[in-house]
């Protein structure tokens, strides 16, 4: 009966499905965008590290002890060591096509100090790790300072994550406003359906139809609108992610939202489907409580 009612209400049903589709589309976009940006942020975080350059005269044994100590810190995820020779080789490799540089290198001793790169569990630990390293002097070289330079870009990460947080909050706020609007749209559709069926409802009452028998079809009608809208919004998200890929083609070969969309298809579908059904249920239940009294 709910399905029949949904069909009979024609254009009004279409209007409520459209309103709900827009809402679900925004919910899908916020979810998709938020998750994608967060995974991108994780990627960036993983690439962020503290780079410690040692003085050229820093004893390797001291550096290796420091490296070992660092691995025991709970805030540290990974430590990689690159000796003076490794640094030189890497430099040579990087400038192998530039003869002038390679030639000038041959005229001096190895100018590079050793280096260790430290990945923290979270970028917030960068300061603590840096303090730990700064406090280290060379025990074998009369307490001389080992470190030449410590560098990291903590601010980029915190700014980026703040930006993502803010845009996600804004997205959810918009989704919430739209959800309320679509509840009103479905509420109106169902109210109109109840008004159209008022004669039928009054006869149902008269013959002792139960609450669920009278209200059930209208609630189902609202939920059907939600289901249809969830499918439509899921279908609309696909061209949207293709568009995002095409407009971001110049950045690192394009943001691969398409594979994220397909990779999380089941999850996105469930979120939109459940949101659609819940919105439809709330709106129609509210309408029946108000207008289809037993």
């Amino acid at each position: 009966m709910g399905l029949i009612g949904f069909g009979r209400n024609g254009l009004v049903s279409v209007a409520s499905v459209m309103a709900m589709t827009i809402t679900l589309f925004v919910i899908g976009t916020v979810y998709l965008g938020g998750n994608f940006l967060n995974s991108a942020l994780t990627e960036v975080k993983n690439k962020m590290d503290i780079s410690v350059s040692f003085k050229t005269d820093a004893p390797e044994a001291d550096i290796l002890v420091l490296k070992k100590d660092l691995t025991f810190l709970p805030e540290v995820k990974q430590v990689t060591y690159s000796s003076r020779e490794d640094e030189l080789l890497a430099f040579r490799d990087r400038y192998k096509d530039n003869e002038t540089i390679i030639q000038s290198l041959g005229e001096v001793d190895n100018p590079f100090g050793a280096r260790i790169n430290i990945q923290a569990v979270e970028p917030v630990y960068f300061d603590k790790i840096t303090r730990f390293i700064n406090g280290r002097n060379s025990p074998t070289n009369g307490g001389a300072n080992l470190i030449d330079q410590i560098s990291y870009k903590k601010d980029v990460v915190s700014k980026l994550s703040n930006l993502i947080d803010t845009s996600e909050k804004l997205g959810w706020a918009i989704a919430l406003v739209l959800a309320l609007l679509s509840i009103f749209a479905v509420f109106n559709t169902i109210s109109l359906a109840i008004y159209t069926s008022r004669e039928e409802i009054s006869v149902m009452r008269l013959v002792g139809a139960s609450n669920s028998y009278v209200k059930g079809p209208f609630v189902v009608e609202g939920m059907i609108a939600g289901v249809v809208a969830s499918f439509l919004s899921l279908a609309l998200l696909y061209p949207a992610v293709l568009w995002v890929r095409s407009v971001t083609a110049n950045i690192y070969g394009g943001v691969n939202l398409v594979s994220f969309y397909f990779g999380n298809f089941g999850k996105i579908f469930i979120i939109l489907f459940v949101s659609g059904v819940v919105l439809g249920f709330l709106a129609s239940y509210w309408a029946t409580r108000r207008y289809a009294k037993i």
């Binding site: 008269l206 013959v207 002792g208 028998y213 037993i294």
Partner: protein, 225 residues
């Protein structure tokens, strides 16, 4: 079976019923008469739990109708059949479907519906109109269809509100004959009407309402207004 205990119904600017008390015994056939606005329909609506009294109580057997929870109201209404002047049939359903719908709404099985609907339509003389829509039926046939619907669930009480208002005298007499037969098999009937001839011909108990007050209760009364 029905007991009105000092029932009043006051709307914002009018009094529909005032301190009305009476009892209806099981198996009785009662006519309620009165001018338009005397409170007849309000009284019937109270039995159907469609209106609540401002003061006083209405009992169906030992149940105080207006203290019954909302969930229990449908069960109460299934014990009451009702017929109205405007028939209240569903225009987009056939005669068969109008009755089947009532049975379905009260939770009867498909098997019961298939066996009982043709039988009850036969009883009211509409055995050959199963597939007809209300607009294809005459006024009398529509009222007979409404009667069939009201008795399909074998109610204890039948409420009949101006059943002949839209019918010619001959058809009206036929309809009243059907009600008499229904009463003879034990169903209690409360009838409201303006039709003096019908009330006089019945020779049953008559309650007379005026301005919301019960002014007369005659055991074998006549229409006296």
């Amino acid at each position: 079976m029905i007991y009105f205990d000092r029932v009043s119904k006051i709307y914002s600017n009018s009094i529909a019923l005032q301190e009305v008390s009476f009892t209806v015994k099981s198996g009785e056939f009662i006519s309620i008469v009165g001018h338009s606005g005397a409170g007849k329909t309000t009284l019937l609506k109270m039995i159907l739990a469609e209106e609540a009294p401002t003061s006083g109580n209405v009992f169906f057997d030992s149940i105080d109708i207006h203290k019954v929870s909302r969930n229990q109201i449908p069960k109460l209404r299934r014990r009451i059949g009702s017929v109205f002047q405007d028939f209240r049939l569903l225009p987009n359903k056939t005669a068969y479907e109008n009755i089947a719908f009532t049975m379905e709404a009260s939770g009867r099985s498909d098997e019961e519906i298939r066996s009982d609907v043709p039988h009850v339509l036969d009883l009211v003389g509409l055995g050959d109109k199963l597939g007809s829509f209300p607009f294809e039926l005459s006024g009398g046939e529509r009222q007979r269809l409404a009667i069939a619907r009201s008795i399909i669930n074998q109610p204890d009480l039948l409420i009949v509100d101006e059943p002949t208002g839209n019918l010619d005298p001959i058809t009206s007499a036929e309809i009243i004959e059907i009600f008499k037969k229904i009463n003879e098999i034990g169903t209690t009937i409360i009838l409201t009407t303006h039709n003096k001839k019908i009330v006089d011909s019945l020779g049953h108990r008559v309650l007379t309402l005026e301005h919301g007050q019960l002014i007369r209760d005659d055991k074998e009364g006549k229409y006296a207004l």
